[in-house]
């Protein structure tokens, strides 16, 4: 078990700032997800921790030891790549044993450790198979096993399930979580899938343009997003720009009490926190029945479209006039929270 400390790390490519003064402490055995859209700097950050990119400034410490000057082969990290990056001229056993052979471990120990880790990832008996004979999910398991067999202090996963189908992705992320908790290995997981981050992480780091937008537990990121960007990025969110005057937020015919100073504001309401009653604030554009629940699209008179999640999709129909009743809201001004219902 090891801890990772990233302090004021920046990476500038020519004129582009990929990572901007990023700081984060990852505790022993913690699994932290780096979440953000493409180009937010999450993979660059992971590559800097792995030693594949050199930071322009800042410090990266593993167990209080500076590693920034070390090449990848000397860092106590193990990286799992998006494309598996298996060596196709070697079989599964040789892929896993390669790192141990470089460390000149005895043959018996290599065999024992490789077999143990193959068992851990559910590939017992696959050692003699060529990697090209494996399915995508099995290849990703081999890639994970290749990193785990060396017992790294920090495990780095760079969108490892991006090339897999949804079903397999869900199964593998559960397996990765189980393995990570069993081994108590400190892990950094890069993803742009919010559901993956919410399902896996002890903490989520939401990144945007190389900067941290929010670091928090998954439930907090979902329920109490720190910025409008996080609110819009995690889950489905109605983000409504409007004006506050005399304690009331207004946008077209929609208004809601908001006890903050007058001025512009962005209101964030989850579809599940917006109930509908008969009225005249908006007109239902479409009702989608998902079986377990319904999703209603409502158009305000100025064209703003708002989503509401209801338990019974048959209760409303397209063309019906409704009023919107938020049960929980967050309000933002200047990229910061100004109000949040408890």
């Amino acid at each position: 078990m090891s801890k990772l400390t990233i302090a004021d790390v920046s990476k500038i490519f020519s004129t582009t700032v990929a990572v901007d003064t990023f700081s984060l402490d990852v505790a022993d055995g913690e699994l932290v997800c780096l979440l953000g859209p493409s180009g937010s700097g999450k993979s660059t950050l992971l590559r800097m921790i792995g030693g594949f990119e050199t930071p322009s400034s800042g410090s990266i410490r593993i167990d209080d030891e500076e590693v920034i000057h070390l090449p990848p082969e000397k860092r106590p990290t193990g990286m799992v790549f998006q494309s598996h990056a298996l060596w196709t001229h070697m079989n599964v056993f040789q892929n896993l044993a390669f790192g141990l052979k470089l460390r000149r471990r005895p043959k018996a120990e290599i065999k024992e450790r490789v077999e143990a880790v193959l068992d851990l990832v559910g590939l017992k008996g696959y050692g003699s198979r060529m990697t090209t004979q494996l399915s995508g999910g099995q290849q990703q398991r081999v890639a994970l096993a290749r990193s785990l067999v060396l017992e790294p202090k920090i495990l780095l996963l760079d969108e490892p399930f991006a090339s897999l189908d949804q079903h397999l992705r869900e199964r593998l992320r559960e397996e990765v979580r189980d393995i990570q908790q069993r081994l108590k290995i400190t892990t950094l997981f890069v993803t742009h899938g919010q559901d993956e981050a919410l399902a896996l992480a002890d903490r989520i780091v939401v990144m945007r343009d190389g900067r941290v937008e929010q670091v928090a537990r998954p439930d907090m990121v979902y329920r109490e997003p720190a910025t409008p960007f996080v609110a819009g990025f995690i889950g489905t969110m109605n983000l409504i720009d409007g004006t506050v005057a005399n304690g009331t937020f207004s946008r077209a015919s929609f208004s809601v009490p908001l006890p903050v100073a007058d001025g512009p504001a962005t209101l964030a309401i989850r579809p599940e926190a917006l109930s509908l009653t008969a009225g005249g604030q908006g007109i239902i554009h479409r009702v989608t029945d998902y079986g377990t629940h319904g999703l209603v699209d409502i158009d305000l008179p100025d064209g703003t479209r708002i989503k509401s999640m209801i338990s019974d999709a048959k209760a409303f129909a397209a063309g019906q006039s409704v009023d919107l009743k938020p049960t929980a809201i967050s309000a933002y001004r200047d990229n910061a929270v100004i109000y949040r219902t408890r």
Binding site: G50, P72, E73, M79, H89, F98, R103
Partner: protein, 288 residues
């Protein structure tokens, strides 16, 4: 199930296809297969004093019992192997650099590596003489700083080696860079991640992935070197000489076409060996 006879239109299309193929196949048979058969027949049927041509391996016995022919074959093999070794030593690092380096310098290096492709062999040979020949540029520069002259490789076996290495760099680099395209950055990074240093990385990860390209380089280069003429003729020693100039001299100066054909047959046997090596390497790669 019934099968319908081909329609007239399908038959005429098939005929057009055969006609299109017939032209190159006919040319190949006329320009390549026939001379080979004719040459082999002539080499194995030496003309007797009475004008008859019985089947006999006498020409080959003469070739392999003649010390001069054997030394020419030896110098050809030596030149080919040394040139090939130097090409691999120079071009593999160059190809690795071009594959993995980024930026403007890599683009300049690539342009420089391809440059010899656009220089005719004869120009290269005279440039070589002007620079490395007796009283060439190098000698003049050394003389200017008070140093002794070099032992010029001109008209020694090293002359053709230097010229042929320079001449073959572009094709070798192109083949190797193309082969290195099969080595992904992430495969290399994964190897570094588990602890591989540069040499280990090259030996265990990169080389097995580009082995087919290396095999292609070996066979192509050897085939090209065996048939090289201009550079060995202009830069090499008069004795022993490489098979190219040797065959030309036997045919043109000594007016002994039968022996020239015998020399060509021996050369062809070596080329066939490398041809088989090439075909096997490509077939093995396709089978993977």
């Amino acid at each position: 199930m019934t099968t319908r006879p081909p329609s007239g239109r399908a038959q005429s299309r098939g005929l057009i296809g055969l006609l299109l193929v017939a032209v190159p196949v006919g040319l190949f048979a006329w320009m390549t297969v026939w001379p080979i058969i004719s040459g082999l027949v002539q080499a194995f049927t030496p003309t007797q004093p009475n004008g008859t041509r019985p089947f006999s391996p006498a020409n080959f016995v003469e070739f392999f019992s003649d010390p001069y022919s054997l030394s020419n074959l030896g110098v050809t093999l030596w030149t080919c192997l040394v040139t090939l070794g130097l090409l691999l030593v120079i071009c593999i690092p160059l190809a690795l650099y071009l594959r993995f380096a980024q930026g403007r310098l890599a683009a300049y290096v690539q342009t420089m590596a391809m440059f010899p492709m656009f220089v005719p062999s004869i120009i290269l040979a005279f440039a070589f003489i002007r620079v490395l020949g007796p009283n060439g540029t190098v000698d003049l520069l050394l003389n200017a700083v008070g140093l002794p002259k070099i032992r010029s490789p001109y008209l020694t076996p090293w002359g053709p080696v230097i010229g042929l290495v320079w001449d073959n760099i572009p094709l070798t680099v192109l083949i190797l860079v193309s082969g290195l395209g099969a080595v992904s950055n992430q495969a290399v990074e994964a190897a570094r991640d588990v602890g591989a240093r540069p040499l280990t990385l090259f030996w265990y990860i990169v080389l097995p992935r580009i082995w087919t390209s290396v095999a292609v380089v070996i066979s192509f280069t050897m085939l090209g070197l065996f048939s090289a003429f201009t550079l060995p003729y202009v830069l090499g020693p008069a004795s022993p000489e490489m098979m190219g100039p040797f065959m030309q001299r036997t045919f043109g100066d000594l007016r002994d076409p039968e022996m020239a054909l015998t020399q060509a047959t021996v050369t062809m046997l070596f080329c066939i060996a490398f041809g088989i090596f090439y075909v096997r390497a490509v077939a093995r790669n396709r089978g993977k």
